[in-house]
């Protein structure tokens, strides 16, 4: 069976656009990346058995377009704009850790029940996206370069114009913020 390409593309377009917007945080650039992906997809001659395999293929094209965009906007994530993100970080630290650097009672991480089962639920991914969107913009961008686009930290530092140790701090902030958001908005309710 060959999919009706045009109607599948129309159905998947919002997913692609959300994926690009999350990472580029720029509606115009996201739109461009998706357009280029759709063009490439329409001229491709692969055959697909299902919508999910088609979506996986489209996302892999889109990922490359996003990487191209990021590389062409060199130094977009400047050290100074990362500093803007940091004001909120101290606030987060104060809620999570006490003065001796130990978890406060309310913030101590709990056990996440059966994450694999959560991965099968569309609602989980809505929360996941919302939590990504909730991260400070530049922090999120560095995190997604690392985790979605597979950049090594060295290359992220270079693209972002920050030091390696600063890069680790930013990634730590992103992970801390994201797991806290997921625990509060998903696992605390879904678990036990």
């Amino acid at each position: 069976m060959d999919l009706d390409r045009q109607s599948e593309l129309n159905a998947l377009r919002p997913d692609l656009l959300r994926f690009a917007r999350l990472q580029l945080r720029d509606a115009g650039a996201a739109e461009d990346a998706v357009q280029e992906t759709l063009l490439a997809a329409l001229t491709g001659s692969h055959r697909f058995e299902s919508r999910s395999s088609y979506k996986t293929w489209l996302i892999s094209i889109l990922r490359n377009k996003i990487i191209d965009t990021i590389r062409s906007q060199s130094r977009e994530v400047s050290a100074s704009s990362l500093a803007d993100d940091e004001a909120g970080d101290d606030l987060l630290d104060d809620t999570l850790f006490n003065r001796r650097g130990h978890w406060t009672d309310a913030a101590a991480p709990g056990r996440w029940a059966d994450p694999e089962a959560s991965f099968e639920q569309q609602q989980f991914w809505k929360v996941f996206e919302a939590c990504l969107d909730h991260l400070p913009a530049k922090t999120a961008r560095v995190f997604m370069m690392r985790e979605f686009l597979g950049f090594e930290t060295d290359e992220i530092c270079k693209e972002a114009g920050i030091s390696t140790s600063n890069c680790w701090v930013v990634l730590h902030r992103a992970r801390l913020g994201l797991r806290t958001c997921l625990e509060t908005n998903w696992f605390a309710g879904a678990g036990t």
Binding site: T56, L58, H102, W112, F119, W125, L149, L171, H172
Partner: protein, 60 residues
């Protein structure tokens, strides 16, 4: 002895670089006696798995 805050920094960095021996030992000791950080470490792995899945378009 590491604080939880320091331990979380190392648990993030172990996703990005090989930790030095002293860091590994300090972290191992800490998570042995700290269940919150032990949970946190598992959550770092869940986060990475979720990102792999999301980043490759494998979400339902």
């Amino acid at each position: 002895m590491l604080s939880c805050q320091q331990a979380t920094e190392l648990m993030s960095q172990e996703q990005d670089r090989p930790l030095r021996l002293a860091e590994r030992l300090g972290l191992r000791l800490h998570v042995l006696i700290c269940s919150a950080c032990s949970n946190y470490r598992r959550q770092m792995n869940v986060l990475r798995a979720a990102c792999r899945r999301f980043g490759s378009g494998g979400t339902p």
